[in-house]
Amino acid sequence: MSVILVFLLVIAGIAGWWLSHQRLMTKPWLEQGMIGDFVALDRSALPTAKIGLGVFLAVVGCLFALFTSAYFMRMALSDWRPLPIPSLLWLNTGVLVLSSIAIQCASLAARKGQVDMVRLGLATAGLTALVFLIGQLVAWRELSADGYFLASNPANSFFYLLTGMHGLHILGGLVGLGRTSVGAWNGAQPQRLRLSVELCAMYWHFLLFVWLAIFALLAGWASTLIDICRGLLT
């Protein structure tokens, strides 16, 4: 459970940092009136939707941290036999990186108000994400063709589970991206479009990060890294 505890520690750090700016040590019964002085504390200048997405990503992060924790706990047992990582995953990773770059371009373009570039970026991001999903499915097929079935051993089950969960989140992102694209083509308000594209970009980068973490985990680097860290500590 150490992964999830570290994750929660990070969340607690962020929450603590925020709380430390909220003057929790003051005596509220002595502070009457004076509305003006507190406005800066009232709410964040960030758009509410971004904060909402941020909270949601914390929940998703928590989910994957828990899967990772479970993975490590199971891995510690003696009969752990990891399955070979299909080389296609490297290609898929590249595609997903491309997707993130494309949506970042769209986000930059939205800031400058270049609607054509936004459309191009969104379309590229959507297509590459689809290609990634198809690539993942092909990788699954390859593995099962080689006899690595879902239920044949726990390492396989974890492989399918983690990639599947990540894929589902990409799929959900594509729905959001679809809505944004509809807006981009039907001439949404520039302000709204920009926010919408930026939200997509946030989500995309986050899922790329999650994917890299999962990839490292499945390929076994994550545990090597932890072993090294443990070695340094002891």
């Binding site: 459970m1 999830i4 505890l5 929660l8 969340i11 607690a12 929450a15 709380l19 909220q22 003057r23 929790l24 040590m25 003051t26 005596k27 509220p28 019964w29 002595l30 502070e31 009457q32 009136g33 004076m34 509305i35 003006g36 002085d37 507190f38 406005v39 800066a40 504390l41 009232d42 709410r43 964040s44 509410t48 939707a49 904060i51 909402g52 909270v55 949601f56 914390a58 929940v59 928590c62 989910l63 828990l66 899967f67 479970a70 706990m73 199971r74 047992l77 009969d79 879902l150 239920a151 051993n153 726990p154 089950s157 974890f158 589970l161 969960m165």
Partner: protein, 589 residues
């Protein structure tokens, strides 16, 4: 009055009012409504309805326990299905949904001075997915093989094996699907509650001016958002084990002489995931109750809550600590015994902030002006039951004391007292307190007092003696307590007594439901602020609050939520949106 003007004070910015969704038809106004108040009522009604099912299930269980052998239709299978569904419904579908989906939706926007939740559409989806989860859960009663009988903890391997009712039928699958749906729906709602508190507060509503109710619900929601994923992970993995034959939680098993296909899984892994959710869940239910009861006591004792800052810090501290105590549910699970030292220590540490909250509640009563209204009675009853249940938690949290007591009726009595009776009593108090705001009418006083006394004394008489059955060594989750050397003749009588009390207490809840419905039309007119309370929900121009909550202009907050009996003030309460200063004569030492 003290002048505090930070050097880098920001000039007042114009706070743009949020865009408000306006319904156009009856359907979007009352059914597919995006108004948090309507959603709150939908959540509450659904939770109450499914809660009644769980109440009836508890009656059936008590029939079997109190009068063994009398009721043939309660077979062992049926008994285990009843206890499983009773526990799961009460903890998740009733308490969590009612506190966060019900009270959270209704009170957060009103108390922080917002027109609605920040993402009303997502909020609406949250309710409908919750309803779907409830329907899936209910459908398992009608599925072949009936609902699952794995106990609400759903421990594998037995949860998905033939020896358990529903294990190889539809029961467990529907249960897991329903939980997954619930978590998805809850996450949607939870995002709203958290972000509304962060971003929806009206001008002047700093964090330290929030009523403790909002603090409680807010912290509980943050915890729930971080804890429910653990249950989600456990459910998904178990679903795969059951449906697709994976072995996340399934080791090699010989069932009734036959080798199963599974192999290599770890049952303990499930317990870690389950309790990583399960323990914060206790506080997800308790923190809103803490918050609400603080406001009830303060309002009805006409005195500011004692030690507001300490109360806030304690809520936050309990919330954070509750993530590192989960394995105290697993002292005898066979995990590494040295974990016991760590988890016993963290568990007993969490008792300190909890005790501080109790002290501050009773110290609020000290030198107060206590109006023994029904909400106040329930608040007092909460303190009694919560202190009782919390103290028995010190038995079970102290690892070695837990060894003889775990999995006995002592545990059943403990958690019913602390997270069954105590929070439900707060819910009752809260309903008597806020019903006038929701409907514009008071609940009937006579029926209310009857409901209070029967519920409080009855519940205490049910669960206090039950601890002693556990001390004798009577195990929990037995559908028959016969043929056991620890069960003496007198203990059987005690069991029958508990069953009879359970029926009486259950009956009082029907009276309460009747009161709820009857008073909508026949209750006394309440007016806008019958309790003379300070918080913003009582300051709305209309009662019940109209769509948008606050009329043309949002209220501006000038003071904290607890200006009761301020020396020098004309009335014994000053609402939060009243400007001007009524300086206390001096700062208390």
């Amino acid at each position: 009055m003290v002048d505090i003007t930070p050097a880098d004070a920001v000039p007042p910015a114009e706070v743009a009012e949020m865009e408000l969704y306006h319904p156009h038809s009856w359907w979007t106004k009352y059914v597919f409504s995006q108004d948090a108040k309507v959603i709150a009522i939908q959540y509450s009604a659904t939770a109450t309805a499914i809660g009644m099912v769980a109440l009836v299930l508890s009656w059936l269980m008590r029939l079997q326990l109190g009068f063994p052998g009398t009721f043939d239709f309660i077979t062992p299978e049926a008994y285990y299905q009843f206890i499983t569904m009773h526990g799961m419904i009460m903890v998740i579908y009733l308490l969590t949904a009612l506190f966060l989906g019900g009270f959270g939706n209704y009170l957060i926007p009103l108390m922080v001075g917002a027109r609605d939740m920040v993402f009303p559409y997502v909020n609406m989806l949250s309710y409908w997915i919750y309803l779907l989860a409830v329907l899936v859960l209910v459908s398992s009663f009608f599925a072949p093989g009936g609902p699952t009988g794995a106990g609400w903890t759903l421990y594998p391997p037995q949860a998905i094996m033939t020896g358990t009712p529903g294990g190889q039928d539809w029961g467990i699958i529907l249960m897991l699907v329903s939980l997954i749906l619930f978590i998805v729906g809850f996450t949607m709602g939870g995002l709203n509650y958290v972000v509304t508190v962060l971003q929806g507060r009206t001008r002047g509503m700093t964090l330290m001016r929030l009523p403790l109710t909002v603090w409680g619900i807010f912290t509980a929601t943050v915890m729930a958002l971080l804890a429910f994923p653990a249950l989600f992970v456990a459910c998904v993995m178990m679903l795969l084990d059951r449906a697709l034959g994976t072995s996340f939680f399934m080791p090699a098993i010989v069932e009734m002489g036959e080798q199963l296909q599974h192999g290599g899984g770890s049952p303990i892994l499930f317990q870690h995931l389950f309790w990583f959710f399960g323990h914060p869940e206790v506080y997800i239910v308790a923190l809103p109750a803490f918050g609400i009861v603080s406001d009830l006591i303060s309002t009805h004792a006409r005195k500011n809550i004692f030690g507001y800052r300490m109360m806030v810090w304690a809520i936050v501290g309990i919330g954070a600590l509750s993530f590192v105590v989960w394995a105290h549910h697993m002292y005898v699970s066979g995990m590494h015994p040295y974990f016991g030292f760590f988890f016993a220590t963290t568990t007993l540490i969490i008792a300190v902030p909890t005790a501080i909250k109790v002290y501050n509640w009773v110290l609020t009563l000290w030198r107060g002006d206590i109006h023994l209204t029904i909400p106040m009675l329930f608040a007092l009853a909460f303190i009694v039951t919560f202190v009782n249940g919390g103290l028995t938690g010190l038995f079970l949290g102290n690892v070695v004391v837990d060894v003889p007591l775990s999995d006995t009726m002592f545990v059943v009595a403990h958690f019913h007292m602390v997270m069954g009776v105590a929070p439900i009593i707060v819910i009752f108090g809260a309903i008597y307190h806020w019903y006038p705001k929701v409907t514009g009418r008071m609940l009937n006083e006579t029926l209310g007092r009857f409901h209070f006394w029967v519920t409080f004394l009855g519940a205490y008489l049910i669960f206090f003696p039950m601890h002693y059955l556990g001390l004798m060594g009577v195990p929990r989750r037995y559908n028959e307590l016969t043929d056991m050397t620890v069960m003496t003749e007198s203990a059987h009588h005690l069991n029958s007594f508990i069953s009879i009390m359970a029926f009486i207490v259950g009956f009082a809840q029907i009276v309460f439901l009747f009161n709820l419905i009857w008073s909508i039309r026949h209750g006394r007119e309440a007016g806008g602020n019958p309790w003379r309370a300070t918080t913003l929900e009582w300051q709305t121009p209309e009662t019940p609050p109209a769509h948008g909550n606050f009329g043309k202009d949002l209220p501006i907050v000038y003071r904290w939520a607890y200006d009761y009996s301020v020396p020098g003030a004309k009335e014994d309460f000053i609402p939060q949106n009243i400007p001007g200063s009524f300086a206390p004569s001096r700062e208390p030492a």
